[in-house]
């Protein structure tokens, strides 16, 4: 627990990470309070006149209307729910699988470990999007199907990462001590190994969520999203099919920027966490040498130093 407080303390001082976290929170806020924030209900049937189709923004519709006459802004707001749901659930799934595989492969090693890593290698080599396209086409569209497909295919990177961490932790003092006093493997993994790996997993999870959101939006854009829900990717699918010739930018651009917004927040937050948690990223030998000699008494060498 102490290490989380330590991480939080360091994170607090990184402006990029804070910006990322706030960005993410704004989207979470919108998703949660969608029914109150959205001016219209996207599911509500409305009467439309031909002039309403792809109508540009006006007082009643801040982002105009889509090709079916519905309010774009409301769809945009509700779309946050789909993206975040897919993002969090699919990511949780792949983190869970990846961590388990990584822990087992890393800690037990041997035949099991090798076999598991071969599976990881297999999955990594097969191209993601084509595979997802094929599966969803054949299986059918639907939110849970998308979540499952993204979650079940996205765990390989985490597995590799966790495994390599576990390998280096395995030989450390406190693990050897625990083994010496006869602690069972499961107990060691749960109480000693896992807590050490957890910070890294969390950092990766944040980045993974952004990957899942982008995956969902790509699938939806290509026409495989859940037809009963509004998602940003699907909005872009309709916009691209039907609004591009008319250059209805109010329909074309907002969903894309929404995806960028949430994704950016996650990436900024995640890469900051990753930097904090991964010691390797910190120290290397090439950096500005001017700061090294910081003589306090007498003349400051740094003043006279030039590259």
């Amino acid at each position: 627990m102490e290490q989380f407080r330590e991480i939080w303390r360091t994170f607090r001082r990184r402006p990029i990470g804070i910006v990322g976290a706030l960005t993410l929170l704004s989207v979470v806020f919108v998703a949660i309070f969608a029914p109150w924030l959205a001016p219209y209900d996207p599911d509500e049937k409305i009467d439309v006149e031909p002039g309403d189709l792809l109508a540009p923004p006006d007082a009643g519709h801040l982002l105009g209307r889509d090709d079916a006459g519905k309010d774009v802004l409301s769809q945009l707001i509700y779309g946050a729910r789909v993206s975040l749901t897919v993002g969090f659930v699919a990511s949780f799934m792949s983190m869970f699988i990846g961590t388990t595989v990584g822990l087992v492969a890393g800690y037990f090693g041997g035949r099991i470990g090798n076999a598991l890593m071969r599976v990881v290698d297999f999955l990594m080599v097969i191209p993601d999007l084509p595979l997802m396209l094929v599966i969803i086409s054949l299986w059918g569209r639907g939110l849970w199907k998308i979540i499952l497909v993204i979650g079940l295919l996205g765990w390989t990177y985490t597995a590799r990462l966790v495994r390599s961490q576990v390998l280096s932790i395995k030989e450390r003092q406190f693990i050897l001590r625990a083994r010496a006093i006869g602690a069972g493997s499961l107990r060691i993994i749960a109480r000693h190994v896992f807590p050490q790996v957890l910070p890294l997993i969390l950092a990766e999870a944040v980045l993974d969520i952004s990957g899942a959101i982008i995956a969902e939006s790509s699938l939806s854009f290509l026409g495989l999203g859940d037809p009963t829900l509004v998602s940003w990717g699907m909005m872009l699918n309709f916009a691209f099919e039907r609004a591009i010739s008319r250059m209805a930018w109010w329909f074309l651009l907002p969903p894309g920027f929404a995806i960028i917004w949430v994704s950016l927040g996650l990436v900024l937050m995640g890469s900051t966490l990753e930097e904090i948690v991964n010691p390797r990223l910190k120290s290397h030998h090439l950096f500005d040498p001017r700061r090294m000699v910081a003589l306090v008494a007498g003349e400051s060498a740094s003043q006279r130093i030039s590259e």
Binding site: R9, T10, R13, S283, H284, H285, F287, P289, R290, R291, M292, V293, A294, L295, V296, A297, E299, A301, R304, I305, S306, E307
Partner: protein, 322 residues
């Protein structure tokens, strides 16, 4: 004039939140041409940091906060980075601890040795550099044809010797050898030490030997600086250190290293109980006080200054008598 005159060198390490930890405090020594210095102490006492400081090769979080490092009168700490680079390797070379991994795995040994030769102008064309590489390898007992090979094709001991050959490439005045014999088997250790002695005799090379192994120091060095907790505990000639150690820490070190030629061990091997002080919790008084066998009240409160108890014999202890 001394070859290398270090005065009051202090080095800090900055932690994540910016607080400085004093890793080296007020270290001074004087190295004359042709003489060698042993820098002795436990791991973490600051000896490697001090040497990295001399060459301005500290990691990103290191800061040299005070002192002078005069090489033939020129203060290296006040040079520009560009000027400093001309001194590195050329005048003062260093062979790092764990030299095994200090070689680039994708370049040949010969290439890597030739690199500083060409860089500092000791040779102007590849052919001349190549010849020099051959000379250097022979000097350390490696056949010149091996220059074409890669580091992974050399054994551990060979890599250590190759690193030494590389360090001598520009005929430096000073060679800093950081734990050159640690993690090597005894036979190789002996080889390396023989090599060093040979270099001292033949080339008049000054060696600063950083080690915790007093046996090695006795073979190679003329003077010894014992460090503890970032500070100098005792600084004197090697004979003095061995025969009349005045600092309690030095005395305990002597006891901890059995002398195979000396009188039969009457007492068991004495290890020094306790651990060196953590840098973020340095005691206000003498740093060795918690583990000292001669301490009294003043030790916990006041840090003993380094005093010349006799000419050329410096001790930092409240109880050191001449």
């Amino acid at each position: 004039m001394a070859l290398l005159d270090v005065r009051n060198l202090s080095v800090d390490y900055l932690t994540d939140d910016g607080t400085p930890l004093r890793a080296v405090e007020d270290v001074s020594f004087s190295l004359k041409q042709g003489r060698s210095l042993g820098l002795v102490g436990e791991s973490g006492c600051g000896k490697t940091t001090a040497m990295l400081g001399v060459l301005r090769l500290l990691p990103a979080e290191g800061r040299i906060v005070s002192g002078e490092v005069r090489y033939r009168g020129v203060d290296l700490l006040r040079l520009s980075e560009q000027e400093m680079r001309k001194h590195r390797w050329n005048k003062i070379a260093i062979v790092f601890q764990g030299a095994m991994n200090a070689l680039n795995p994708v370049r040949t040994i010969g290439d890597q040795i030739a690199e500083p030769i060409m860089l500092h102008g000791a040779a102007t064309d590849k052919k001349a550099a190549s010849e020099r590489v051959g000379e250097l390898l022979e000097m350390v007992g490696i056949t010149p044809e091996m220059a074409r090979q890669y580091p992974h094709q050399y054994s551990g001991g060979m890599r250590q010797r190759a690193m030494t050959a590389m360090a001598l490439a520009c005929s430096p005045d000073i060679l800093i050898a950081d734990e050159p014999t640690t993690a090597l088997d005894v036979m190789i250790q002996a080889q390396i030490l023989d090599l060093f002695q040979h270099l001292q005799k033949q080339l008049g090379l000054s060696i600063i030997l950083v080690t915790h192994d007093l046996g090695v120091v006795a073979e190679i060095c003329d003077d010894v600086l014992v460090m503890y907790g970032g500070r100098t505990a005792e600084y004197a000639s090697v004979d003095t250190i061995y025969n009349e150690p005045l600092h309690p820490y030095t005395q305990r070190l002597m006891q901890a290293f059995p002398d195979i030629d000396g009188p039969a061990l009457k007492t068991s091997l004495a290890s020094i109980p306790g651990y060196p002080p953590p840098l973020d919790a340095l005691p206000p008084g003498c740093r060795f006080e918690p583990r000292c066998h001669r301490k009294s009240d003043v030790c916990a409160v006041e840090s003993p200054p380094l005093v010349a108890v006799k000419p050329g014999h410096y001790v930092a202890c409240h109880f050191a008598e001449g």
